[in-house]
Amino acid sequence: MAQRAVWLISHEPGTPLCGTVRFSRRYPTVEKRAKVFNGTSYVPIPEDGPFLKALFFELRLLDDDKDFVESRDSCSHINKTSVYGLLVGGGELWPVVAFLKNNMIYACVPLVEQTLSPRPPLISISGISQSFELLFGIQDFLHLGQKNETELNTKLNQLPDLLLQACPFGTLLDANLQNSLDSINFASVTHPQKQPAWKVGTYKGKPQVSVSITEKVKSMQYDKQDIADTWQVVGAVTCKCDLEGIMPNVTISLSLPTNGSPLQDILVHPCVTSLDSAILTSSSIDAMDDSAFSGPYKFPFTPPLESFNLCYYTSQVPVPPILGFYQMKEEEIQVKITVNLKLHESVKNNFEFCEARIPFYNRGPVTHVEYKVSFGQLEVFRERSLLIWIIGQKFPKSMEISLSGTVTFGAKSHEKQPFDEICIGGTAYLKLHFKILDYTLTGCYADQHSVQVFASGKPKISTHRKLISSDYYIWNSKAPAPITYGSLLLSLSSWTLNGHSRKDEISRSSKKPEENQGNTGQV
């Protein structure tokens, strides 16, 4: 398992080549083996220029996809993974692992230790997963704390030295490049025996452990009889353990309150030394029942030096934190919109921020808005055809707020207004953005007593929690909306919250939204 070459290419639409190779590294000893292993199916690694061209063509990143090109657009040219075959120099270079992230294309070619014709399945190629880890590792390194082009360049300049440490001959030794950077700096330290390879030195200083739980809540709400709403919580527990000793042992227990929602689909960091089988088998695939394991979730581990994600989990909380409906009707050049949002009473009503973004795609610029909000303010971004309803830090006492209005659009000009392939006609959404500190939807927490450290000295322990929204959509209930299979299935089962229309549900609980003090305006 080894890599033949790796590239980082920035995507620059509008430039002649549409991109620049920012970094590349070839491994000639691996190439030598590829030649022998692949036999007649061997295709050499091209130079950077031809590689960029072929990769951009395949990924549709060139500006010339106006015409039908059979080698790219044929219906039988089906790609179901991030692995591609590139036409270079009369042959097909395969497998090329590549993906685009933050305008950077990460690509490499793993060694396949057999003939390539017929193509072996990817699962049988040991280098494939290594390719992914290498590219993810580089991506994490570049992305970590990177703010601007200068910082990116600094990091790119460090890459040759880092890969000389982490991947000297094409066989990846450590996907954590930050670790390799530290190991260059730690090089003069004399290592005691049995030092883990993922921990290049030892910590000296005041012992402290920090645990933060970040939950993201996603939702798709439709306000329709036959389509169920869905929502899901995804949690990540991040730790930073500053502890002396080579291999200090730490156990962190995550706990739930009595009415908390069980954690499921738990994935742990490789430093976790053992796992309770209940943790391993608790999964969202199964129907939930009362017997579901509800913690405490114990994670014994030996921490690395750097901050790391101890575990990820998902959870199915009984209600979404904010339930809403969005109705939009088209009337010639205008649309009429009505939005209603209700914060669930169990949710902490103390936001760092909360806003609803209402975009209008495939239309002209906003020329006129008449609106009435029961709470908060509305901002209008005319050229971007976007309304932002700033709700602020708290919902009012009624926990329910509304917005209604009429939006008028000008003539459509393709360059400026946003295009969207999903929001066609009446299909439209609003997206909620919010953040609540010191709170988790599942109730999951870690406190002083949750952390056991088996090392010298009593560490200072700090814990943090936060809930943030992520992909929180409310779809126009007056038009078709994209659904997932889960929505169809849930609506058919008895386990549905959406037995009646959302509008009734919310209106019944609020007396007269119109009477609430609110802003009205014309923009």
Binding site: T29, F68, I78, L173, S274, G486
Partner: protein
């Protein structure tokens, strides 16, 4: 010119990296490798610059030192530089070791005869062992990193030359047990162990105590090349490590170690696995792949050693670790994974394939792993993507496609959905809440809606057609899926005719299940429109694909209407393409009128010419021939111009081709009857031939012109009645006939072949006289006999007889011409020789070995031929 400075080197390296081939072809290319080596010892360059020079040599050794000798010299120079470094900390030692290793391994220079190899290998092993190598190898602080680097170098050399470290397994084990760096030593030992086992298994040798021997070669002492040189250990394509194929079949002969060896082996593997948690996740994964491979071919090595690691590994989200577990699953199957374990692994994989905390490329890879999951007891055919048996629809609810997915994600999830739809039909569990077909239909409709967006990106259209193709590929037998798909696609065409190239591509690639109804639907869609349409070129492109013999009047009506709007060359050609398709489909009625109209009406002369050509073809060629004439060009399809190719096709079909003779012609038994001599011809053919015409020509003016012989059909192996060729001699003389054959082949080509010439013998011209009118044969003969003279000639000659005697001779050769017979001694023979000669023979008083023959003829020129004939009779028997 002084030595290049740091800046000039930076420029030079930059230029090289921009395009190595261009740089090497330029004026500076030749010296680069040499300069680089000498600059490494320059005291003027900084270490940082030297490191960048070494980095270049790590990537492009083949360009810098293109042959083994140059690579050897470079490695020697790099080693010299290393030894000459002052004993203070330096950033150069590590890259120098890497560069020397790369130069040797990539330059094919590694081997027992290479001086550099003899220096490098003991040096690396010494460093890896943590031995004090003395001056030149830096301060103590560098020992540890150099020890790790040496291990990496050795591992790379072992990878390129398997067996290189086979003699040092014991040493490596003991190092791992001591204080060596765990990860580099573990990986090195695991690789060396794997390679040794493979080599020994191929050589059908045991481990021979390799695991315990622990010699360190003395500095400068000989390296143990035994395993690397023997045992067929050269790098060769390995049998796939996946799935767990029969060991024999994949080249891993089953190795049976002795109990002692097995114990040692187990101890070594356990030692590696026990400390594996100290390795980085990617290194752990490598270790598992290597050990899994190593133990797979071994009898009596239960894989339970891996078991303690599995639970820990299954809990992580690390792609390499989960992949390594799948490799173990494939290698050991039920021996390591019980049915419950398999179910758990499958659930973890399913979970990982949709976990929101993981990136999309990982999801897609896990999805691929699901469809290629190494089941303990697979049911389906190997090599095809299927959903594992334990992966029920319930488990995969979260894995189904949605319009919100990226294209590759959508296709991957769609494939899974299709597999469930296929399974669902088999089980016929319908009417339940799980109705995947319905969901599939909705999804495809959504994709088509997006593809129909005017001005939308091509990627959306491509995705829609790829999804349709995938669905047809998986569900070709399900009308409940195909019917709405056909309708939907036709609607999509109505909404966005500019997608015509995608439709043509789809029709080219799907089978008749979708192809047939979709053709009909699209034809209907096009012809029901008025001919004047801005999308005319797309309509014509579609029609040329879908026009067939069905409902030609509607098609022709559309074309007539469209013709008026075909103003430019491209449109006219597209229109003619449709006509051509109709011609091929055998549509005649109405088409001739249209073509004639086009031949007058089209503005472009090329278009008019083509229309006229098609008209002529339609008017003059019968259906099958027309089909062939318009079919794919029989000429080499190397030319890109369709017109040239088309013309070549016509030329091939409409011209007579010279061909080798596909038949054999011979002269059959004589048939002496009738008014003229007739040659009976026998024909044998090697391949089916149609419309055969045989043409004959006589050398000289001996005979009148011969008519051609026609045969409608000749098939190999089927006897053909003799063909009759009437001869019209101007003189009674033998002759040679030149023969040519014209015929049509099954491919529709008309061919022409020269056959070997046919000989017409003198006897072939013989005809009998009619019966004497009054029955007085003797008198008739005498009358003929007398009439020959005085103009004619008379002769007597001796006709030798064979053992069978006169009677047999006459019966065999002269029977039809005998007028008076007194067997067995006397025969009077009268032969008519067209055009107007006669030959009369009296064979009388035969003796034992011959018969005297008196002959008369009215044509003296016949005499020598008659003589030859009679003398040759006995030999001809």
């Amino acid at each position: 010119m002084g030595p290049p400075s740091r800046e000039t080197w930076a420029q030079r390296l930059g230029a090289f990296r921009a395009s190595p081939s261009a740089f090497m072809a330029g004026p500076e290319g030749e010296d680069l490798g040499r300069d680089l080596l000498s600059e490494l010892r320059s005291e003027k360059l900084s270490e940082q610059t030297k490191v960048s020079l070494l980095a270049l040599s790590l990537e492009y050794p083949a360009q810098l030192w293109p042959d083994a000798a140059a690579a050897e010299a470079a490695a020697t120079s790099l080693l010299d530089t290393l030894v000459l470094l002052p004993p203070r900390p330096s950033a150069l030692r590590r890259p120098l070791l890497l560069a020397a290793t790369t130069a040797l391994a990539a330059g094919d220079a590694l081997g027992p005869t290479s001086g550099a190899s003899r220096r490098l290998l003991p040096l690396l092993l010494g460093l890896a062992s943590g031995r004090d190598l003395g001056r030149g190898f830096g301060p103590a602080s560098e020992q540890r990193p150099l020890q790790a680097t040496a291990c990496e170098c050795l591992r790379e050399l072992e990878s390129c030359k398997p067996g290189l470290l086979g003699g040092y397994l014991g040493l490596l084990r003991s190092l791992l047990g001591q204080e060596g760096p765990v990860q580099p030593l573990s990986l090195l030992l695991a690789l060396a162990l794997r390679n040794t086992l493979v080599i020994q298994a191929r050589a059908r040798a045991g481990l021979q105590g390799l695991l315990v021997a622990g010699d360190t070669p003395a500095a400068g002492g000989p390296w143990n090349w035994t395993l690397a040189e023997d045992g067929d250990a050269h790098l060769q394509p390995q049998a796939p490590s996946w799935p767990a194929a029969e060991e024999e079949a994949c080249g891993l002969a089953v190795l049976e170690p002795s109990p002692e060896e097995a114990r040692e082996l187990r101890a070594a593997v356990a030692q590696l696995l026990d400390t594996s948690y100290l390795l980085t996740p990617v290194a752990q994964a490598q270790l598992l792949w290597l050990l899994g491979w190593a133990l797979r071919g071994l009898r009596g090595q239960p894989p339970v050693l891996f078991k303690p690691q599995l639970v820990r590994l299954l809990g992580t989200a690390q792609l390499t670790l989960l992949h390594a577990v799948l490799a173990l699953k494939a290698a050991f199957g039920e021996a390591l994974f019980t049915a419950q374990d398999e179910a758990l692994l499958l659930r973890r994989l399913t979970l990982a394939a949709q976990h929101p905390a993981l990136p999309l490329p990982a999801h897609l890879f896990y999805l691929h792993c699901l469809l290629n999951f190494p089941e303990n007891w697979p049911l389906g055919p190997t090599g095809e993507e299927t959903a594992p048996l334990l992966l029920g629809p319930r488990l995969c609810r979260g894995l189904l496609p949605s319009l919100l997915h990226d294209p590759s994600a959508l296709l991957a999830h769609l494939h899974l959905l299709c597999l469930f739809c296929a399974e669902d039909e088999e089980k016929e569990e319908k009417g339940q809440d799980w109705c995947p077909q319905h969901y599939l239909g909705e999804l495809l409709a959504g994709l088509r809606q997006r593809a129909a967006l005017h001005g939308g990106p091509r990627a959306l259209a491509t995705l829609c057609f790829q999804a349709s193709y995938l669905v047809v590929h998986c569900l070709a037998t399900q009308p409940t899926v195909l019917t709405p798909l056909t309708h939907g696609l036709a609607q999509l065409y109505r909404a966005r005719p500019a997608l015509a190239p995608h439709f043509v591509d789809l029709l080219d690639r799907v089978g008749p299940e979708l192809g047939e109804p979709l053709r009909a639907a699209l034809r209907q869609e096009v012809v029901s429109r008025p001919g004047r349409d801005e999308a005319l070129r797309w309509h014509l492109q579609i029609l040329s694909k879908v026009a067939d013999g069905k409902a030609p009047s509607a098609t022709l009506g559309f074309l007539r209407a469209a013709a008026a709007h075909c103003s430019d060359w491209g449109l006219q050609q597209a229109l003619l393409q449709v006509c051509r398709a109709l011609l091929r489909a055998g549509v005649a009625e109405g088409l001739a009128d249209l073509l004639q109209a086009l031949a007058r009406q089209l503005e472009d002369p090329d278009g008019r010419d083509h229309a006229r050509l098609y008209y002529i073809l339609l008017a003059h060629l019968a259906g099958p021939k027309l089909g062939v004439a318009l079919g794919p060009s029989l000429a080499a399809p190397a030319l890109t111009s369709s017109l040239v190719a088309e013309n070549q096709g016509f030329a091939a079909v409409l011209m007579v081709q010279e061909a080798p003779a596909p038949m054999q012609l011979s002269v059959g038994p004589r048939r002496a009857a009738g008014p003229v001599p007739v040659l009976q011809l026998q024909v044998e053919v090697l391949e089916p031939l149609y419309s055969v015409e045989l043409r004959f020509r006589v050398e000289g003016q001996l005979y009148g012109p011969l008519g051609a012989v026609h045969v409608p059909c000749l098939l190999p192996g089927r006897p053909c009645r003799p063909l009759h060729l009437p001869l019209r001699p101007r003189r009674p003389a033998p002759a040679q006939l030149a023969v040519r054959a014209l015929f049509a082949t099954p491919a529709g080509l008309t061919c022409h072949a020269h056959l070997p010439p046919l000989l017409v013998n003198f006897a072939d011209l013989f005809l009998p006289f009619p019966q004497a009118p009054d029955g007085d044969n003797q008198g008739f003969f005498e009358e003929l006999w007398d009439s020959c003279l005085p103009e004619g000639a008379e002769s007597r000659l001796w006709c030798p007889l064979g053992p069978q005697g006169l009677e047999a001779l006459v019966a065999r050769h002269l029977e039809p011409f005998v007028v008076v017979a007194q067997p067995p001694t006397s025969y009077h023979v009268a032969i008519r020789l067209p055009p107007a000669s006669r030959l009369l023979l009296r064979l009388e008083a035969a003796q034992g070995d011959g018969v005297p023959v008196a002959l008369r003829t009215d044509d003296w020129a016949v005499l020598p031929m008659a003589g030859d004939y009679l003398r040759g009779l006995s030999a001809a028997v």
